[in-house]
Structures are given as structure tokens and as C-alpha cells.
């Protein structure tokens, strides 16, 4: 989109050009540009100067929002776990069989990883994340992993499943990241396929239709029109 073609012009912030990216604020546009550059060109290879150029703002304006490149990365990473952690914590404190609650968490989290504009989960493997600067993020992701593990252990107890598999649902959800990195575009059904797989790993062999229904209601989304669990049963 070139200068002058954006309808949201004239919002009174100093800009070199009109906004050219999704996002209601300069902060969101910076995050969007950084996400694109980090995932497509690499974190180490991307300078804050280049991010500012992409957004069409001065570097000083970028520094007004983020003091360092690490702060931009931190904000992007937080966006990949915060919603899942909130959902998971709520589900952990809810009543009902653990199978249904884990299904909802897996589908919700996988959906978010599938539909994000950039494949931010690919940044989880950056060696830079081992720096102290990112310890708060690492702790939040570890918290999310513990929520998954706790629900998974309850499912295993319900289903007399394999105890050693309790960490696999968390990992299975993140395989969305690898698929996207391989340019395998996730279908709308993918979160549901992963939700079913996560429960099967833990020994669940019951009917998936009620789980799909309850998860769709809880997340406020439509269940897959031809649910994968059903079409696959001859």
C-alpha cells in the first residue's frame, strides 16, 4: 500500500508516511514489521533501523515504544503464550472431566498458533532466548507447559493411559510451528486434528463428538464443518 491510499490517515502522530501495516497503533505496526523480519530474515540479521524503515517511522519514534530489539522480541513472544496461559489456568480451575478441558486448551492454543499472521513460534528455538533478559518469558512458557502437564496427568488417570506421555500434548500443539515453517499451510481443521491426537496419545479412546461440541461452545468458534474425527471413521 503506497502513501496516501490508507483510509486511516491523519490520526495526528508524526509519521514519515501513511501506515502500511495492520495494527491500530504505531506500536502494533512496529510489532508486525518486526515479526515479519524476525521470522523471514532472522533475529540476529534484523536491525531496529530496518524495522523502523519497514514501518515508515523514524528510529527515534521506534525507541519511544521499545528501548531495544530484545524488548520487541519479548513483546512478540508474550503474545504467543499469554492467551493460552489464561485459558489454561481457567480450565485448570474448572470442574468436569479433564479430557474435555485439555481438548479445549489444545484446540484453542493450536488455533492461535495456526492463525497468527507470522509464525512466531519459530522464534522459540532462538539461542538468544537463553539470555537472562528472556527469563520472564521462559518462566511463563514453563507455566503453560505445567498447566498442560497437569491436565494431561488427569486425563491419563481417567483413561489409564501411558504416564510417560504427559508432556506430549504441549509438544504436539507446537508442531503447528514446524508445519508452518515447512510452508504447510494449516487447514481450519488442523487444531481439531491436534486436539484429537493429544487425547489419543494419553489413552483416550472415547467419542470425540461431545468434546468437539463443548470446545466449540467454550471458545466461541464453529466446530469443523465435516469434523475430522467423524469423517475418518468408516
Amino acid at each position: 500500500m503506497g502513501p496516501g491510499t490508507n483510509p486511516s490517515a491523519g490520526r495526528g502522530r508524526p509519521r514519515l508516511e501513511q501506515p502500511r501495516r495492520p495494527g491500530r497503533t504505531a506500536r502494533e505496526e512496529i510489532l508486525d514489521a518486526a515479526a515479519e523480519l524476525f521470522t523471514n530474515h532472522g533475529y540476529a540479521s534484523t536491525s531496529t533501523r530496518r524495522i523502523a524503515d519497514e514501518v515508515g517511522v523514524r528510529q527515534a519514534s521506534l525507541y519511544h515504544h521499545f528501548a531495544t530489539k530484545d524488548d520487541i522480541l519479548d513483546a512478540l513472544l508474550a503474545g504467543t503464550v499469554d492467551a493460552a496461559l489464561q485459558l489454561g489456568t481457567e480450565l485448570l480451575g474448572s470442574a468436569g472431566p479433564a479430557g474435555g478441558r485439555l481438548h479445549t486448551l489444545v484446540v484453542g492454543d493450536a488455533h492461535q498458533l495456526c492463525t497468527g499472521r507470522w509464525n512466531l513460534g519459530a522464534l522459540y528455538l532462538l539461542p538468544e532466548l537463553r539470555m537472562d533478559r528472556f527469563e520472564p518469558f521462559r518462566l511463563r512458557r514453563a507455566q503453560l507447559r505445567e498447566v498442560y502437564r497437569s491436565l494431561s496427568e488427569s486425563v491419563i488417570a481417567e483413561c489409564r493411559g501411558p504416564r510417560a506421555a504427559a508432556d506430549l500434548p504441549f509438544r504436539l500443539v507446537e508442531t503447528v510451528v514446524n508445519s508452518r515453517s515447512d510452508d504447510v499451510e494449516p487447514t481450519p481443521a488442523q487444531p481439531w486434528v491436534i486436539g484429537e491426537g493429544a487425547l489419543r496419545i494419553l489413552g483416550f479412546v472415547g467419542d470425540f463428538a461431545p468434546l468437539v461440541q463443548a470446545t466449540a461452545v467454550r471458545l466461541g468458534v464453529r466446530p469443523p464443518s465435516k469434523p475430522a474425527p467423524l469423517e475418518s471413521r468408516p
Copy 2:
């Protein structure tokens, strides 16, 4: 290890110092040093100069083995799929139920990803891999994925499992990479846990003991001393 302490000294190649890394040849030492630097400091941030320094050879000597840094990365990446692709191709052409064959591939491949000295799978998500230079590697990895998919589809047919899950076993194996990246050291049982999980995802609900036995024989490894599939059944 300091100069002069290595027993394999005096093998007649020009070296600044004695070998300080595992590997019978300078080429292997270069690969080991590069693997450490790429996984711990990042690919873009590592120069060939630094790799040569780590090995204790001159840069000219490094260039004798690898013309570019990309060539080093390519050799490292090939090492992560070649054995699995060979095993998978053999298994694809073998007789017998697909369940057992897929189990063997998953356990063998996961074992290799678990026990490699460096977590090279973390490099799969590098944006640099999208360059033309790495197309041959990408094609080989896609071939491996197709072998997994083909065996998985046969298992699904055998078990009347969920057809949409055929890509998940390949992805589940690679979750070893994410675990290691999170400093979760894989236990010796981990490949077996993943082997069981891969089959459960596809709808397999039979006895795992004969599969574990056959896979151990085929791979020439010991089955887990307290097999995860058995200890988990109350």
C-alpha cells in the same frame, strides 16, 4: 583440553594445536565446532573465522574442507535426515503390518534426535534454509516426511484411525528438538514414549510389547528396561 594432552597427536596434518574435539578427522572437528556455535550462538552470528578458531585450525584449512558456511550447515543438516531416510525407505519396502514398521522408524529417528551431541534439529527453523542453496536438503526432508506419511496412512487403514492425522507422527518425532531446546534432557525412554504416542494418534490400541521387542531387535538396541508402555498400565 589443552595443547599436548591429546593422545591422537602427530597424525601429520598441519594444525595450530592438537585436536580438542571429538572426531577422527579435521572435517569432523569442524562440523562439531560449527554445530556447537550454530546451536548455541546462532547461525547468522557465527563466522567461519570463529569456527576455525574453535577447532584450532587456520581458516585456509577450514576452506579446504568447506567452501562456505552454508556448506557446513548443509553437511550438518544432512546428518540429521540421512539415516532416518535410509531406515524409512527400507521399512517402507518391507513386509508385515505397518504399525510395527512405523514404530521402528519413529523410535530409531527419535533416538537419533535425542542422542546427537548438539540439538541440530533446532536449525530446521532457520529462515536461511529457504534459500535455493538448501533446496536439496529440503527435498530430502520432504522425502522423509512422505515416508512417514505413507506408513502412517497404512496404520490408519489397519486401525480405522483418523485419516487427518497422517502427518502427526513425523511432527511428533521432531518435538524432541523442542524439548532439548527447553533444556529438558531426553531420558533413554523418550524414543519409546514417542513411538507409542505416534501409534496411538493413528488409532492403534493394541499391545505395544511385541512392537517394542521387534523394534529393539531391528535397531539392535535394548528395549527400555522398565518399558514405558507396561509400567503405565495399572
